[in-house]
Amino acid sequence: MTDPGPGRAALRRFATNRLAMGCLALLLLLGILAAVGPALLGHDQVQLDWEHVAAAPFAAPGHWLGTDRLGRDLLVRTLHGLRVSLAIALAATLVSLLLGVTWGAVAGYLRGRTDAVMMRIVDVLYALPQVFFVIIVTVALGRSPATLLVAIAAFGWLTTARIVRGQALVLREREFVAAAVVGGATTARIIARHIVPNLLGPVIVYATLLIPQVILVESFLSFLGIGIQQPLASLGNLIADGAAEMETAPWLLIVPGGCLVLLVFCCNFVGDGLRDALDPQDS
């Protein structure tokens, strides 16, 4: 972070990537819609409208994308689901990053036996089949958004820790770290102020690729009924509802499904764009 040169160059490269910029704009739009949309549309997500049950899109006044079997507004519920999915994805990614960066930086900087033990723990957790253990955690702790967050974050930090450790191993040999040691800085200060800020580039790239993965895991569990529970909407349980009624009301499947696909699609392209921008020799 001391040298703005490469960072700014990377930003400029990212800005010329039209696909990634378009996807970033779309992501921001989706985020804003999820945040303020439901309030603007004036329906509650659990409000029932018995006059218009299972209405097709544009068929009922006030319900732009139609309603479900109980007369709940589909657009409002989809935006709510989007909000839940985004909130869980961002929170789980943040927790994963905090844990992974700390773990990896400490292991990589200290080396030796500490490093060996810490990374062995990561290796063992890595070998576990993740989705199945997330299911075990939700069975053990009960089904709630908080459990889901813990279960997803419990595995999300592993790759971050590995990436960060690799970077920290290289960084600790650099002159500015030696200078800090000579200057009498404590180990904690060196890790926090000299090591971590210098390895954030790859971490940011990985984070943008982690977010869509987390969104997919969350929706996957909610689809199976193990994640977010009704009446709270999430993209996953909306898709499950839609799949149950697609014969008579296909829009109930297509609207939340399309929303999820768009979200993951955009996240992937923004992540790819960032990676290319930060790592120009690769492309």
């Binding site: 069975v139 702790l141 499950a240």
Partner: protein, 309 residues
């Protein structure tokens, strides 16, 4: 090669032990239990039930009993499907899941690899652009969206294929589930195959083959493709993980009597022994298949194959 195989097999044992221990602890330390119903059971009945299933014993004793059972192939009783043991459910579900997952992997390989190779050979022309556009979509569309859409299209609207169900030997029942499961994996495989083949085609030894005047067909098929498959084969590990987790969705949605559906049912009903048994079998499957993929990868790379002692 044999030494490598042995070392890997030994390395898998602590992993499996960790999986069993963590699965056991997680489920036993959890608040609530399989006998929590809408109406609280009378204390005596509850105590009797717990005694019958050995749940009143201290935790280490329970763990010891569970391990002893596992060693005999006994995964304990199911709390949800009370007439069956978990072992019986596994025995019934495993073949279904294996047929489903195996067919899906085969389809993904047969579609993904040629598509990726074709895209690489027609780089930046229309086949490449079309295949890569489909692949990008295939990666972003998860199994639980594509599967209902396939049912809607081919099962309900067109009425060509059965929507759900399973009769052994009726391959028509399998078409939609297998396609839904295979699509995302095929998409990822085609992207990997394209990228890796493009890289290999730039290698000096491919130029050398061209300089020797070999026909292009032979260069691609006999020289470039085997080398390009190395990163593709190392993706097989994650691909297997994707297939196994995807099979939960597909089995639930299509009503196939596989392990995945029992796992989901068990998770919804907090049936500890069922969930644990299924997770242990899935984990063992995953470890074995990953091992096989690793060995295939080693075998494909002549540098490793010849160097291996």
């Amino acid at each position: 090669m044999t030494a490598l195989l042995l070392r890997r097999l030994l390395g898998a044992i602590p992993t499996l032990a960790a999986i069993i221990a963590i699965a056991f602890l997680m489920t036993r330390l959890a608040p609530g239990g399989p006998f929590d119903e809408e109406q609280a059971l009378p204390a005596e009945i509850r105590a009797n039930l717990e005694a019958a299933y050995g749940l009143d014993r201290p935790l280490p004793v329970q763990f010891g009993r569970y391990l002893a059972g596992l060693a005999r192939g006994d995964f304990g009783p199911s709390f949800k499907f009370r007439d069956f043991t978990v072992t019986e459910l596994i025995r019934g579900g495993l073949p279904v899941s294996l047929v489903l997952g195996g067919s899906a992997l085969l389809v993904a390989l047969l579609v993904g690899l040629p598509a990726g190779a074709w895209a690489a050979l027609r780089r930046d022309r229309w086949p490449d652009r079309a295949i890569m556009a489909v692949a990008a979509a295939g990666i972003a569309v998860p199994v639980f969206v594509i599967a209902p859409l396939l049912v809607l299209g081919f099962g309900i609207r067109l009425g060509w294929l059965p929507v759900a169900g399973w009769e052994s030997g009726r391959y028509r029942d399998l078409i939609l589930p297998v396609v839904a499961l295979a699509l995302p994996v095929a998409a990822q495989l085609s992207r990997l195959c394209r990228g890796s083949l493009l890289e290999v085609l730039r290698a000096p030894w491919i130029r050398a083959a061209r300089a020797r005047g070999l026909p292009e067909r032979r260069i691609v098929l006999a020289h470039a493709l085997p080398a390009a498959l190395v990163p593709v084969v190392s993706y097989l590990g994650p691909a297997i993980a994707a297939l196994l987790s995807g099979s939960l969705v597909v089995e639930t949605l299509f009503g196939l009597p596989g392990m995945g559906r029992y796992l989901v049912e068990g998770a919804l009903n907090r049936d500890y022994t069922l969930v644990m048994g299924m997770v242990i079998v899935y984990a063992a499957l995953m470890i074995t298949l990953n091992l096989a993929a690793d060995l295939a990868c080693t075998w494909l790379d002549p540098r490793i194959r010849r160097g291996a002692r």
